[in-house]
Subunit: 149 residues, 2 copies
DNA sequence: AAGCTTATTGATAATGATTATCAATTTCAA
DNA sequence: TTGAAATTGATAATCATTATCAATAAGCTT
């Protein structure tokens, strides 16, 4: 059994929530997937395991996975909310091509450090941040200046 | 007449769009307001000038204002989309208290510089970025560790 | 293992923000 | 002034998400 499953079970117990087969199905589907995925994506994946699974359960379980620290909102500000893995995946920010949607994950230590300075300067206790860079990738900049979105 | 109005009129002409009284009303209401405001906020403000103004027109005009470079999406990832002034307002990022909603605008040159490095490193032509820091302000951290949201 | 309390489920309706549709009205170039 | 074309406000439609609820499943307690 994967570590993530132990964490999930422990989290459920700690909150008095029940370990149900629907939740197991959603977790399994989530662990098998990668990248940024929407509730709809995850529902499709989970239905391959249990075709009877309800959509509402996916939304609900995704929220639990986030609370348990296994998933997090990887919000691009278009379209439906998307989640990504967080357990055993290091922190990163996103660079997105507005031409073709290409997505690059990066981490820039200087930026992370500077962010902490900001928190300190304003007397805030940091809880998170989101940085999204948008532009045209080399391919798209070459072809034309056209953007989608 | 304010500079913003000239810019708006010039933009409309350049796109073959018409200068209508509804659009003037929305622009006037927008220019009188400040901060981050939703379509609903703006509709309320605009209705004080013209009570008959339609909601759809506000959504439509806000989009035009953004295209014209007068407004921009100041997206916090909760709730309805919010716009802020961009003309004669310098670039900044946002620091938000998850406890009380307090919002601080800041600009950190080092971060801006580092972002350009990222764009360069991956061969992207920059078109924008969004950085949002979230945490507890001193007041909220003092009172308790409780977050809203 | 059976009973029992409570959480969970899936279907469905409801919500909130935004966009599409459309007939009536306005704009503005000729 | 005219008339083609854009715009308006009302309204319906859409999309993602959440709420509701009766039926079911979990997991103690015995
Ligand atoms: Mn990512
Ligand atoms: Mn701002
Ligand atoms: Zn691209
Ligand atoms: Zn606060």
């Amino acid at each position: 059994m994967k570590e993530e499953q132990y964490l999930f079970i422990r989290y459920l117990k700690s909150k008095g929530l029940k370990l149900t087969s629907a939740r197991e199905t959603v977790l399994t589907a989530f662990l098998k997937s990668e990248g940024h995925l929407s509730a709809e994506d995850l529902l499709a994946a989970a239905k391959k395991i249990d075709p009877g699974l309800g959509q509402a359960t996916v939304f609900r379980t995704l929220k639990i996975l986030a609370d348990a620290g296994l998933a997090q909102d990887a919000c691009q500000d278009e379209g439906p909310r998307r989640y990504e893995h967080v357990y055993k995946h290091s922190h990163h920010d996103h660079l997105i091509c507005v031409g073709c949607g290409k997505l690059i994950e990066f981490c820039h230590p200087e930026i992370e450090k500077a962010q902490n300075e900001i928190f300190r300067e304003f007397g805030f206790q940091a809880s998170g941040h989101r940085l999204e860079l948008r532009g045209l990738c080399a391919d798209c900049a070459g072809k034309s200046g056209k953007t989608r979105e």
